[in-house]
Symmetry: C2
Subunit: 205 residues, 2 copies
């Protein structure tokens, strides 16, 4: 006897499979989302698909820092009030948004587009490292902040960048690591707590 | 000083707004999903958008039961081994998938495409009720099961359907309501428990 085992329609199945390729979206959620879309007027579905499709065709990248933007240069690189001599090197667009959200940084950025990861087949030539070196070589940059993740890949990438940039005579710094503000010692992981002790700082009352 | 307050690009913002229109997806999740898509090869983004867009253009509806399918008639309506004389009336495609997942039903379906809801401006003429009446009038149907939600709108729709179909002489049934299997009396809502008592059934040992 015919039963609708999974999907009653190939078109629906394709949409569900596409949606469930997103991180954190399981196949049941994807079905729910696809049926929600299916229940909308055709014009609205087309607009939805168009907004996604334009991510592939209409996004521009800042020619200086590789941030996504609408023009040739992003608003940060184009702003003379931001300190164009301090460059914060990050892995992704999301990292820029996270740092901007703190409101604590007034320099500019350089987006690598990932980090060195031999397991994923990502080497230095896959990242915007040559562009960073060229940018520093061109002069006018006094400090490069390496703001990469604290895992092995991040540390490897930071070390690689250090070796590339140190000969250029630029000051190279990295993010402070330690206990988060408000963190309880009891719940801190041993590595973080250990580094917090060895990297202890003068108490400022 | 220029800060990237929300979105560095209109294209990204459009995508985030589209994605956050999905039920249960907040703007932070939508940004995460949009950045995930943005990080994919252009071809893959295009395929994703295409799979969504085809929901508007390529989905077919079964001419008999309104189920989504790939052809003219859905696999259930096309199957002579399913009891074509018993029609289960549901609100949506999702309800069909839920009932099919039980493996307990061997009849066919009729999808109304919603329920009567004056607040949302949905009246009988917005639903596939005339089609249901025509289907029953055409003969060959012995029973119509009203499988709508137990809320006011669902009850209203069931009552409306009853008045439409009863003159045609067809047997009209509805889903059993009561405590769920394994439910604890202590945690049952008063309405359900009350109806379970008034609609009590013979004990079958």
């Amino acid at each position: 006897m015919a039963r609708i085992e999974n999907y009653p329609s190939q078109v629906l199945q394709d949409a569900v499979e596409a949606i469930s390729s997103l991180p954190g979206v399981g196949s049941r959620s994807a079905l729910r989302l696809a049926l929600n879309l299916l229940g909308r007027p055709a014009e609205e579905i087309g607009q939805f698909a168009g907004a996604i499709g334009r991510l592939a065709t209409d996004v521009h990248y800042c020619r200086r820092c590789m941030m996504i933007c609408d023009g040739d240069l992003c608003p940060i690189c184009a702003d003379s009030r931001r300190d164009q001599s301090v460059v914060c090197v990050v892995a992704s667009v999301r990292d820029v948004l996270s740092i901007e959200a703190t409101g604590q940084y007034s320099g500019v950025y350089h987006i690598l587009g990932g980090i060195i990861s031999p397991i994923d087949g990502i080497g230095p030539s896959d990242l915007k490292i040559a562009e960073l070196r060229d940018r520093v070589s061109a002069g006018g940059i006094s400090e490069v902040i390496l703001a990469l993740s604290g895992d092995v890949e991040g540390e490897t990438t930071s070390f690689y960048l250090y070796r590339q940039l140190a000969p250029l005579g630029v000051k190279i710094t990295t993010l402070a690591r330690g206990l988060g503000f408000g963190d309880d010692l009891e719940y801190a992981d041993a590595l973080t707590l250990g580094r917090s002790i060895t990297s202890r700082q003068p108490f400022k009352p």
